[in-house]
Amino acid sequence: RRELPDGGARPNAAQFKQLVVTALRELHGEVGAALPVDVLTYEEKTLSAILRVISSGLVKLWSALTLLGSYQNRTCAFRVLQTSPFLLALSGNSRELVL
């Protein structure tokens, strides 16, 4: 799950994916931009999304998102909330589970 704080207009799903691919292209070149990344869900209100990537590409994706600084001349940052190999694990945080 990723969250990005922003100032003005919000990107839609396609622009979000373009942002991710641009970040990969800057850090890892054409090889990075060709990494198959899928945006599974995207919420425009909270600007958070769930991305899927092949496990060998996790390091490249995470480092590229960390180093992305600007979106349409505005500063922005990606915050990674959770990573897991299972989609179901992203639905709840087991630390805050109330039994």
Partner: protein
């Protein structure tokens, strides 16, 4: 033993344009290769490969280039070499292609390979040449190159000037 290990990549510059030979220089080739690595592997790849990157040897007559890089990043370099399309120098761009001949750990192995490769190229040129004068020229350089190793390099240069 802890030491920095390097890989030496031997490549050949192929070009249709005969004027491209004059602009084969160390700086031009180095810049073209770095630019290609930056495009293909991004900032990370460019920084990774540039740690110990130099053009060690260049022969403009035969178009032979010897590049050096770290052992950890030689795969990035080798995968980016096919993306070198132009050589630029003195505001002139010539289309060219880089062919990888050999990857070795030391300059000595690359030199040994280059000597054998040049010998094989001379023999192939002898079979393919049509002109009688060229034939005699090549035969003379072949005979002279079987004596010592230094003469084989100069015999190769002579032969290339003759066939161009």
């Amino acid at each position: 033993m802890v030491r920095f290990k390097n890989r030496y990549v031997l490549c050949e510059v192929l070009s249709d344009d005969p004027r491209c030979r004059q602009c084969i220089e160390e700086r031009a080739v180095g810049l073209a290769v770095r630019d290609a690595i930056g495009r293909v592997h991004g900032d990370y790849g460019l920084a990774c490969c540039s740690i110990s990157f130099t053009v060690k040897y260049l022969n403009a007559y035969t178009g032979t280039v010897l590049l050096r890089c770290r052992k950890d990043s030689y795969r990035l370099l080798c995968s980016a070499l096919p993306f070198v399309r132009h050589l630029e120098s003195r505001n002139q761009r010539y289309p060219c292609a880089l062919n990888t001949l050999h990857v070795g750990g030391t300059i000595r192995t690359c030199q040994k390979f280059l000597i054998q490769y040049n010998r094989r190229q001379l023999l192939m040129l002898l079979q393919n040449c049509t002109n009688e004068e060229e034939r005699q020229c090549i035969q003379k350089s072949l005979l002279s190159c079987s004596l010592t190793e230094e003469q084989s390099q100069s015999g190769d240069e002579e032969d290339d000037d003759g066939t161009e």
